[in-house]
């Protein structure tokens, strides 16, 4: 692939306002470097859930379902490493302390059963999440990338990351805004971090009842049935920043 193909991709990308179209184009373009799937997401840390942090989901549906429902992101060396480095890396470069654990090896084995065998991750700074990352995945056994190909992937990933953030902001400006109180935001953040209403109460020195009252208020503001949906909606509306 030539550098101009990367710049052409960026120009097309910047014309697009639909995340699906951006995802499709990035999938097509990265396919020329041997990749079949990709995910652009906030990197979950602690007890955070993955699903609300996802910006572009180009993983096979059944694999994403398995990876998120089994909370593989909490043990997967690739995901753990993506939370602690800003240096792009191939999956087989993940250091052993997180990559070579029984749980992480099990995730790799399961991934291989879904024909996902190698990949390349571009971590990025985020103002909304701990960090975010684009993870490119391939069905081939090894990801052999020249320095130029790495540079091409990093360039595509980071400009895509920037543009997806820009259109999310544009969408938000055009929607009627939902404002959360500081308390509602706090309880959602702690819920997102895996805490129960009782635990949230302990942390914020309020009663469990009051914590629940704030969670209910947040659900009502977003007009959703579950607190998980409220977290997802708050994340999409960029209200969950630290």
């Amino acid at each position: 692939m030539h550098a101009d193909d990367v710049f052409d991709f960026i120009e097309r990308c910047q014309q697009r306002t639909a995340p699906k179209a951006i995802l499709g184009d990035l999938l097509d373009t990265s396919a020329r470097l041997g990749f079949d799937h990709l995910l652009f997401s906030g990197v979950p840390v602690g007890q955070q859930d993955l699903a609300p942090l996802v910006e572009l989901n180009g993983w096979p549906v059944d694999w994403f379902e398995r990876y998120s429902s089994q909370a593989y992101f909490r043990v997967d060396g690739v995901c753990l490493h993506a939370a602690r480095t800003l240096r792009p890396f191939a999956w087989d470069e993940v250091p052993g302390d997180v990559g070579d654990t029984p749980a992480s090896r099990k995730v790799s084995g399961d991934a291989a059963d879904h024909r996902i065998r190698s990949g390349f991750v571009v971590p990025m700074l985020s103002l909304d999440h701990w960090q975010s990352a684009v993870s490119f995945a391939s069905s081939s056994r090894r990801t052999e990338l020249s320095p130029t190909e790495r540079a091409q992937l990093i360039t595509m990933a980071t400009f895509t990351g920037a543009h997806v953030q820009a259109i999310a902001l544009e969408t938000l400006v055009s929607e009627s805004p939902v404002t959360l109180t500081e308390r509602e935001r706090e309880v959602l953040l702690w819920y997102h971090a895996g805490k129960s209403a009782w635990e949230i109460g302990e942390i914020l020195r309020i009663s469990e009842r009051t914590a629940n009252k704030h969670l209910t208020a947040a659900r009502q503001k977003f007009k959703v049935a579950t607190t998980r949906q409220a977290v997802a909606e708050a994340a999409r509306r960029r209200l969950l920043h630290f």
Binding site: A3, V6, F7, I10, Q14, L86, R87, P88, V122, P123, M124, L125, S126, L127, D128, S132, P147, T148, R150, A151, Q152, I154, T155, T158, F159, G161, A162, H163, V164, Q165, A166, L169, E170, V173, R238, H241, F242
Partner: protein, 215 residues
């Protein structure tokens, strides 16, 4: 909230102590923390681009310099043209009077300065306001590749000049940011309706070369 002061060779005398503090903060940020340059004996960091062609935006809070930006016309020698021209493989080093190179941005490391509406976003809003007021078309230069989504987060359009390239542990990319009223409005949206004041003291100095009036 910071107050953003525009400092040029014309009004530097009004900012002696702030400018000195700025150079010391730069030393902490770029010599001690990032190790981009060797330490200097006087604990102040300067480079060959600190000339009277440079315009500084100093972010002050409680009388202290907490953030900064340096803008240099790309028609003058600047970091991209002198050190990183190889990163502009797309169309060569851009050199336009209304394109400014933006360097030497640091943010003091205190918790209250972090976050979406924090010091970094405030500084970026001040830089964009200055660029709009001065009639610039683009600001930018060498960036850490991993930092780019933050600029997108402000609703800003990026103009890539080349591919990313690794230098040791870092990956750099040269990109400029389109300057526009829309870009200013969108970052102000991120800040939620409250943004830093841009202060100009002393004799005004325009960034673009003065146009001669032909009579």
């Amino acid at each position: 909230m910071i107050t953003a002061h525009v400092v040029t060779s014309e009004n530097l005398h009004l900012y002696q102590s702030e400018f000195d503090e700025f150079l010391r903060r730069r030393h902490e940020a770029f010599v001690v923390r990032k190790r981009w340059r060797p330490p200097s004996d006087d604990g102040r960091e300067r480079d060959e681009f600190d000339t009277d062609k440079a315009t500084y935006i100093l972010g002050l809070e409680d009388g202290q310099v907490v953030t900064s930006a340096r803008l240099i016309p790309t028609t003058e020698p600047h970091l991209v043209s002198e050190v990183f021209p190889q990163l502009c493989e797309r169309n060569g080093v851009p050199r336009h009077p209304d394109w400014a190179e933006w360097t030497r941005t640091f943010v003091v490391q205190k918790e209250r300065h972090l976050g979406l509406k924090g010091t970094f976003t405030q500084l970026c809003a001040a830089v964009m306001q200055y660029a709009v007021e001065e009639g610039l078309s683009a600001v930018g230069g060498v960036q850490e590749a991993y930092a780019m989504p933050r600029l997108g987060r402000f609703g800003w359009k990026l103009l890539p000049q080349g591919l990313a390239r690794g230098f040791g542990d870092e990956t750099y990319i040269v990109t400029y940011i389109e300057v526009s009223e829309a870009a200013l409005a969108s970052i102000r949206t991120v800040l939620g309706g409250e943004w830093p004041a841009l202060v100009r003291r002393g004799r005004p100095q325009s960034f673009l070369p003065e146009r001669r009036v032909v009579s």
